[in-house]
Symmetry: C2
Subunit: 352 residues, 2 copies
């Protein structure tokens, strides 16, 4: 489609001509072209139809000019292959939550080639269609999957998963180890099928105290990343509410840390050091506001980054369904334009 | 009821015999004695009945031995006096959200003595009944009230309030100024009626990027605290998701910063410096777990505090309704017992 836009170089903290950008949930409800396809097919069926899943993956690349595509799927898809009955209402609902040893032992570790072939087929179609635009694969992190598996749905306080974690740590560990093994196999298969980067969504890890995260979750995340045998494929880690965990995760093995907007990018870079790239971190609500406000917010984030190599622009979480498409196009164009002029800024090296 | 337990001394960063503790939502559904009263009277009516509101305020002091009482009420109560039609379903619902200039101008600033006399009467009853146990008054911070006023209810992404804040900053400022003026009058009246400390709940401020918080919210919070003319009455500030804002708010004028559990108390104290006390920060879910786990978590928090003066123990947010009362009693006893032995710990001054 176009020249390699620097996304993979930025993941590797190499210099780029301008800051690359992609957008979490860029294939989604805010796009009329996506809604048109979804009006004909339920969400889960769309995830399992390689031609249509590839089509909605491609939409934002064609329509917005983002610098990477992300596989259209859902982090809960492999749980279905593990034996969980999954529905979207539209919020995800697991009909048989997993809460005791018998239920954990009953979870099978799927063979991605046999059980999740539709994902790998989608990847292969996309690599043919995307040309030079890199393709990101993904999975849910073990803790976030454990949240869904134990709670059965989203939660305000995640009392079920925490109760298991604190009260039955051996049981919790068994669940985490199974999910880690599954995720390693799943991401390896995605890489083999052709994704050029992977993002691990530990969306809910930010609900834990840092010390508890370090004790109960981080070892499994490290094992997952270490187990990928990924060669040069960059790993991006996303945690909503990552601000309290920065020192703990800077050496978890990820190449890129995705930041939500509740932590200043400047503070994050100071705490993270120079050995890890960052992704983020615009408040998605800013895309609902007038263009001068969007431009000022982009400028501020680029300034907070201070010209350091290894920055991929993104939102701090998924794009809101009410977002005007025109504002998203403006965001992409503004990030490219302002960052290309980056040389004019003072590097904030004094602050390191 | 008993000897002054050091809560006010800890707010002032003075040495205490043992770490004082109270619990957010300590008067609440987890207590059978509270549920017995609530079975006879709707929530809003309970807030407006001074004798019963005082009774449920006293319950946790009598039953658990906590070191401070907090007025039983709701942060949305004064909004009703401003002209908002309020219901609890049980989640709060504002029937007439406030979204344009006319609606903001129509909000009246209540006279607490005339319009909220039931709150002041409750305070006067409590001061007679509480003996030496200090009484905490409270209000919602302007931003959190603005969230409810504009959204009309709780929200996942707070798109309405953010859209107003970013797109119509003059309008947002008019709303914040009105809420600040209301809160000053309301807290002053509470102090005059007898509360010995106040907690400002900016529960939702943690959804903002730090730079946006500094630009749009912090000036109003400062004005509120400055405007209290409070003498020696300590001000506690609570923000859920405070971790990203620590450097910004350490000099906001509050005497105590309440910490959620997503930030390590040790990191918070390092970033906050020695001029502000802290409150917190146990994950409420830990009270659902066996006592040895609770004790270990208390020990860790006390160790993270490292014997520094100015620590009030609390949860990082409200107690969960499923919490066993026996575990709460154990928590209170454990905090007192372990902190009284505090002298045996190494002070972590080297980490300052």
């Amino acid at each position: 489609m176009k020249e390699p836009p620097g996304f993979l170089a930025a993941c590797r903290r190499q210099p780029v001509r301008c800051t690359p950008i992609w957008i979490m949930r860029q294939a989604g409800r805010y796009l009329p072209e996506y809604r048109a396809i979804r009006s004909r097919i339920p969400f889960l069926d769309l995830c399992k139809d390689p031609a249509l899943a590839a089509e909605v993956t491609l939409q934002p690349v064609r329509l917005l000019g983002v610098d990477a595509a992300i596989l259209f799927s859902d982090i809960l898809i492999p749980l279905e292959a593990m034996g969980v009955r999954l529905r979207f209402t539209p919020a995800p609902l697991l009909e048989n939550p997993v809460r005791d040893r018998k239920e954990i032992e009953a979870l099978r570790i799927p063979d991605p080639v046999g059980d999740l072939s539709f994902v790998l087929d989608t990847i292969r179609i996309l690599r043919r269609e995307l040309g030079g635009t890199p393709l990101i694969g993904f999975c849910g992190a073990p803790f976030t999957l454990a949240c869904y598996l134990t709670e059965g749905k989203g939660s305000r306080d995640f009392a079920t998963v925490k109760k298991m974690m604190f009260s039955e740590p051996e049981l919790f560990r068994a669940l985490m180890e199974k999910l880690t093994a599954m995720s390693i196999a799943y991401l390896r298969a995605q890489i083999e099928a052709g994704v050029q980067a992977v993002q691990i969504f530990d969306t809910w890890a930010g609900i834990l105290a840092p010390a508890d995260y370090g004790e109960f979750v981080l070892p499994h995340l490290r094992a997952l990343i270490r187990g990928l045998d990924r060669g040069a494929t960059p790993v991006i880690l996303f945690i909503k509410g990552v601000g309290g965990l920065l020192e703990l995760i800077r050496d978890c093995g990820a190449d890129v840390l995705a930041l939500d907007w509740m932590v200043s990018l400047e503070r994050a870079r100071r705490l993270l050091g120079t050995e890890i790239a960052v992704q983020g971190n615009l408040d998605p609500a800013l895309l609902l506001t007038p263009k001068p406000r969007i431009e000022a917010a982009v400028q501020r984030i680029l300034e907070e980054n201070g010209g350091r190599p290894g920055h991929i622009f993104n939102l701090g979480h998924g794009i809101l369904p009410a977002t005007p498409v025109d504002h998203v196009r403006f965001l992409v164009e503004t990030v490219h334009r302002l960052s290309a002029a980056e040389i004019a800024w003072p590097l904030t090296k004094g602050k390191e």
